[in-house]
Structures are given as C-alpha cells and as structure tokens.
Symmetry: C2
Subunit: 323 residues, 2 copies
C-alpha cells in the first residue's frame, strides 16, 4: 500500500520542532509575466540548506530505541549526507557517512560540522553501497536510504503540507524530479489534501528518465547521466515510481540553458541563492513549458547549496561550460 496523507501528517508532527517552517516568497515580475501566481516554498532557507533534512529527520526519528542506539549510516555526496548527520545529532546517536573521496571540501566540512563520521570510498556508486553495507555488517548501524523509502518520502512531503497550510488552495504544485522522493511525498500530501490539484515534476531534458518511465510504464535508467542539476541524476525506484505513476499529471523537461537562466532570474529578481536542481521548476515556468495564466501555483525550491565558484563560471561563460 502506498503511503497516505496521514503518514505525511504524522511525519510533520514528528519533525516540525526540529526543522524550520520555511517562508513562502513570490515574485511580482514573474506573476506579471505569466499571468499566474507562483508561491515559492523556500527550502533553500531550510536547515542544512535543503528539504532533505525533512526525510532525514523523519526516518531517524522513526527508529526504535534499540535500533537507534546502534547508529545510522548512509552514502551520499550531497544534501542527504548532511541531513542524516544532523538528524542523528539531534537524536544524539552516531552517524557514519560514506562519501566519495572526490567530494568537495564544502560538503565534507558540512557533514563534519554536524558531527557525522566520514568514511571515504572510491567515487563510483558500487563502492559507496559496498562500503555502507560493510559498515552495517560491522556495526549494526541502520542504513538510511536517500529517497527510496516510505519514511523518507513522507518526510519530504511535509514541505507541501506546510506550503498548503501557509497559503491555502493551489491549482498546481510543482517540484524538481530526480529519484522522486520529493515529488512522491509532495503528491501524497497535495492529492490527499486536495484531489483536484495538479501535481507536476520537472527534470532536465538530458536526464529524462522519469519522463520515459511514465511513458513506457516501467522504470527507465539513463547510463552516465549528466546535468548541472546534479541532485536530479538518480532514477525512480520501487517506492517512488508507483506514487508518481498514480498521482503525477505531467513531467516537464528543461534544457541546461533554461536552468541557468532560471537561476539568474531568481538571484537577480528574488535575491535568493538556489541550487541548479531547484532551478528546474522556475525554468519550466519562465520558459513557458506550462501555461499558468490565472492559476495559483506552488513551486518547491528544494535547496540552496551551490558552489559559488562553479556557479560564477556558469554565469560568466554562459553556454560554454554547461555540462
């Protein structure tokens, strides 16, 4: 059985005192340009700089006392690593984080800052999983999946729940789409609250595996996916695909250029730092991939963790250095 609205509501009760209720921003310029009203749920201002803390906290806080005492482990090079480290710190249990040896200094420092104990491994996915499983065997720690887990999915869905509490009815709700954790949770929450709402995912054209998966009816994976939106490279999995198949109306695709343009718009007009993975949603709106005239649209901004040097290069050499 798929998770229900009540599961997301319980997740919210479980985590809400540990996370920020992030603000909702609007842009008069964007609304004038589209004829709609877009409500940005700003998870870039969330703890650890991304929505991932919601799923991390819900999963870590859901563990039984005995399980929890053995600590948790995960493998991630990104926001999920920081999320699990912080969630474990909040529960006062150990967190072991497997990170590829080529992780950036900023990401390593973030995990260490939250008290995570890092184990480095080779940078290919198989090495990460093997290393994490070895730690599970050696220590009895509980593996926290980065998205393919009902507890994680329900945690991520709390952002949509909050947004709809904050600003009322919506016609459309949109999220970035990678492995589908955020989109699944959002769909469960939003459709549970309002069966008439239209739920939309946005992914990079270059990594359109979810689009293809919905079209073909089975999970498609892309070999060596590449995009600026490096948080959106994972494929759908067994816990996310059925939810998305059931509840999501449409998947929109945006180009790398459209992603960079959207980042620029948000920086210049809304004065916010957002990461490329977040920018796919405003990119779809700005580039007219969807007509929102007269519509109230919720847009989940997933995070704000972006290497400033890398971003500068994109802005500076626009068009040249996009992967």
């Amino acid at each position: 059985m798929l998770p229900q609205l009540t599961d997301v509501q319980q997740a919210h009760q479980r985590i809400r005192s540990s996370i920020h209720e992030t603000p909702v921003f609007t842009s008069a310029t964007l609304d004038a340009r589209t004829g709609g009203q877009v409500f940005f749920k700003c998870e870039n201002f969330q703890k650890i700089g991304a929505f991932k803390i919601r799923g991390g906290c819900n999963t870590v806080f859901s563990l039984g006392e005995e399980e929890a005492a053995r600590g948790v482990v995960t493998h991630s090079s990104g926001n999920h690593a920081a999320a699990v480290a912080l969630a474990a710190k909040l529960r006062n249990i150990p967190a072991r984080i497997v990170m590829p040896e080529n992780s950036t200094e900023v990401k390593i420092a973030a995990v260490r800052g939250y008290g995570g104990e890092i184990t480095f491994c080779a940078s290919h996915p198989a090495a990460r999983e093997e290393t994490a499983l070895r730690i599970v065997e050696e220590t009895g720690a509980v593996l926290i999946p980065s998205y393919n887990d009902p507890r994680v999915i329900c945690g991520q869905g709390t952002a949509a729940l909050e947004l709809m509490e904050q600003i009322g009815d919506l016609d459309i709700i949109m999220t970035p789409l990678g492995g589908g954790g955020l989109l699944s949770g959002t769909a469960i929450a939003a459709k549970g609250l309002d069966p008439g709402i239209c739920v939309i995912g946005v992914e990079p054209e270059q990594v359109d595996d979810a689009y293809q998966s919905l079209k073909t009816g089975m999970i498609v994976t892309i070999d060596k996916p590449v995009s600026i939106a490096e948080g959106l490279l994972m494929p759908l999995r067994e816990h996310t695909f059925p939810v998305i198949r059931k509840f999501v109306s449409e998947i929109l695709l945006v180009s790398e250029e459209e992603i960079v343009e959207a980042m620029r718009f948000v920086y210049e007009r809304m004065k916010m730092i957002i990461e490329p993975s977040s920018a796919v949603v405003p990119a779809a709106i700005l580039s007219g991939k969807i007509d929102i005239k007269g519509k109230r649209v919720g847009a989940i901004i997933s995070g704000g963790n972006v290497d400033m040097g890398v971003f500068f290069q994109w802005m500076h050499d626009k068009g040249n250095r996009i992967p």
Copy 2:
C-alpha cells in the same frame, strides 16, 4: 526640531500597504559563533530590492495634491532612482530621474521598468544636481532628496519599527551608514520605542567620514571616496548629522576584505543575495568589531541589488579586485 517616533509611525501608516513587510532571518551558525542572537531585517527582499522604497514612498505620498500633480524629480544612479520611480508610479504621477550617462544597463532598465523618465547627464555629482534643478525650473516638478530630508528619514525608519514589532525587544540595532538616512530613521524609531537600545552604524574604513564627523563634532567629507559598498559613499548632511550625533552610540569600521567575506558568509550560509553596502553590518559582527555575547541584535540588511558579474569577480579573485 528633530523628527520623532510618531513621525515614523505616521510614515508607516502612509506606506505600509504599498511595501512588503520583509521577513526576519536568523543564522544558527552566526549565533553559535558569536554567542548572541542576530535578527536580520531583510530589506533585500523589499520592493525594488532595497529599503529605499520606504523613504521614496513616504516622501512622494506626503506631497499635497497640487504639488504631486507637477510630478517628481531626483538624481541618483542607484536604489533611490528606482524608489522614486516606483513611488511616483504608485501615486500615478510622472517621475523624472536624472542618471549619469555611465549607469549600468540593469539600473537603467529598473528605472524604466517602473515608468521613470530618464534624463542622462555627465557622471560628476555637479552635473546631476544641475540637471535635476533645471528640470525643477522647467517643469515645476518636486525634487525628492535621496536622504537629507525628514520625510525620507522617517520613511527609512519604518524598517526598524517593523523589525521591533516582529521580534520584540532588542539590546542593539545596527545599520549600514552612508549619508545617514537609514541610520537616522532607525535611531528615531528604535530610541523612541526603547530609550535603552544601543544604536550602531557601520561604514567602510576607507570611507570613515561619519566616524570622523562624530569624533570632531562637525561634518567631515572625504575627497573621492572609494569602496565596494558604493551605496555608502555620501557624507552626512544637516538632517542626518544631528540625529546621529544625538542617538548613535558608536560607529564601527570594516575593511573591504571583511565586507567581501561577510557577503560570502551570507550567500553560503543564509542563501541570500545582499549588496556590499548591506554586508558592512554582518562584516562588523563576523570580524568581532563588536561583542554581542548574550545580546539580541537587530541588523538591517539594506538591499540586494548587486551586479552578478562584478560580484563573482570579487568572490573569484578575492583580494585582487577590491577597489
């Protein structure tokens, strides 16, 4: 007689439906580092991207019908130009904006976007004033000063009023300090509400005219002032100096490097775009120019209008390209 708290309160009534009540942000990292609690009043998210719309609206909305019908004029290359253009648009009267011919495209586009009619002039200050005065003579338009005016000062003070409504008592309130419009208004509002509050201005070391003015007891001006914080180059004037002299406890100075470091901190940790002129306040806190341990501190973030290309050059070539 100096303006009073009631003048700021009246200004707030006059403008509040035309401006945003901007959010207040905190940083757990900064609070942990300093042992204090800093409440950032985020005027970077204000209309036109800066607090200047407050003074612009208060002044333009204060004009009598007959005066207003003749339109308004100002000279500015920055946020004040956009503020007057938008305030006039909201009152449905013409705005003529004198801008130096070397103004950036972004600034020109902003003023035009709000319906301001631009007159270009040579880039030295005398040319701007002359051109503006000529327009006043020719059209009867009312000149809106950028800071040396009680209506402007009281408008700017509404940000502090709002902040104290939003988060309650403060021990300290800090603002950037250029010509002193924001600091004067803040001081009137904050001291009016709480005579025990400590009001502090921060200016660039390289443009320490206000610091020298308070020390010597008379307005000091600096010849050819240069700083990244290009909104803070103007001297105190007759309407701001007496207020600052009466109410301001201290003026702190920050280096250009400290300003850039503070911008980086705010971008990386708080996911906000702030302009260099805003960064002087977090710069003073981060660099330990003031001990805020155990204190509740209000920090006005004045604006977020910064040329991305220029900014990323600073971040990229840190130390090299600072003026």
